[in-house]
């Protein structure tokens, strides 16, 4: 009886993991459309493919894992769309020229987008019981999604995005923790 029960438990656990893995596929597949959109808006195909593959894999892994990481998918992806949209818009706007100098708006757009994304992610993290895991997961996903657009001037845009994210996400979440205590 015990061994039959143990066998049934093992099979139920396997079915659970397979069920979660399968359930995570549609959302990952849906977010795999972002690199296509970025590519159509001017992001290099190789960059879009590589970053897009990473986004898809991470969304699937977070969805399969569940918990705080699973809950971080929505806020992280939405937060990342902000710098992505700003970067793509700045690309279509082109350069701003003052006097003899012309400057791309990509880095400022990505930094601004990162600041906004950081606020969004930090506010969403307040509602989570595993705040640190949620913040790390959502920030990482926002960075990847934003990178689809912020690679407009190479690593500079992505760095601007990361700085913007960290500048707001970390202090706001620390402030939230202090006021909760």
């Amino acid at each position: 009886m015990a061994s039959r029960r143990d066998e049934a438990r093992e099979r139920a656990m396997r079915a659970y993991e397979v069920g979660r893995a399968v359930r995570a596929i549609p959302l990952a597949a849906a977010l795999s459309s972002l690199p296509i959109v970025a590519c159509l808006a001017g992001t290099g195909a190789a960059t879009a493919a590589a970053v897009g593959a990473a986004v898809t894999a991470i969304v699937w892994a977070f969805g399969w894992r569940g918990g705080a990481l699973g809950r971080a998918i929505g806020p992280g992806a939405l937060a990342g769309v902000v710098p992505l949209a700003l970067a793509l818009a700045s690309r279509s706007y082109g350069h701003v020229c003052t006097g003899g100098e012309c400057v791309s708006l990509c880095i400022p757009a990505c930094t601004t987008g990162g600041l906004v994304a950081g606020v969004w992610v930090a506010r969403a993290a307040r509602r989570s019981s595993s705040r640190g895991v949620f913040l790390a997961g959502a920030s990482g996903l926002a960075l990847l999604v934003g990178s689809l657009g912020c690679s407009c001037v190479g690593y500079g845009g992505v760095l601007g995005l990361a700085v913007g994210l960290a500048t707001t996400a970390v202090p706001i979440s620390l402030l939230g923790r202090r006021s909760a205590a």
Binding site: A8, R9, A12, M13, A15, Y16, V18, R23, L69
Partner: protein
């Protein structure tokens, strides 16, 4: 299970749905005895009841991420195992519903072991039950078909009545065996 245990089960199931693997053994251990008991009452004790409970728990855990926290876990589990019991009963019925000339010789084989003899006896009882569920007319049609002089051709009307009676007997058999 008392109220407190039911609430704990629902809370554990919600954690499982959220991805907390540590709650899975708790949910399984709480549900397994109840599902096996339910299946044994429906199908009789034995491996079929454990099969039905195992299948039900596999399906429950495969769909755990879709768990509705407003729905009691035990009720959900019992609904799934009831469905699995129906499937097992249907499978049993198909195993017994063989064509008449397939294995008929085996019914009178005196070398049957005790398990097979018990199954034969149960099957004959079930057949008697299905036969008694028929109308008077169907019963007499089938009896006259079996007992009439086989050298003479059956009239079209008798053949038609016989076909209908056999079809009704088949349906009565399936009703008894839970299709």
């Amino acid at each position: 299970m008392d109220e407190r245990a039911l609430r704990e089960l629902d809370a554990a199931m919600a954690r499982v749905a959220d991805g907390d693997r540590s709650a899975c053994p708790l949910v399984f251990d709480r549900l397994w005895p109840d599902l096996v008991t339910f299946a044994a009452r429906t199908l009789g004790p034995g491996p079929d009841a454990e099969d039905a409970a195992q299948e039900a728990l596999e399906k429950l855990f495969a769909n755990a991420a879709n768990y509705d926290p407003h729905r009691p876990t035990l009720a959900w589990a019992l609904a799934v195992v009831a469905w699995e019991c129906k499937t097992v009963a249907r499978r049993r019925g198909r195993r017994r519903e063989r064509p008449l000339d397939d294995g008929v010789g085996g019914l009178s084989d005196s070398a049957l072991g005790p398990e097979a003899a018990a199954e034969e006896s149960a099957m004959l009882d079930a057949l008697r039950g299905a036969f008694e569920a028929l109308s008077e007319e169907d019963r007499s049609t089938l009896v006259s078909t079996i007992t009439r002089d086989a050298s003479g051709p059956a009239s079209p009307a008798l053949r038609k009545r016989k076909e209908r009676a056999i079809e009704r007997l088949r349906r009565a058999w399936r009703r008894i065996h839970g299709e």
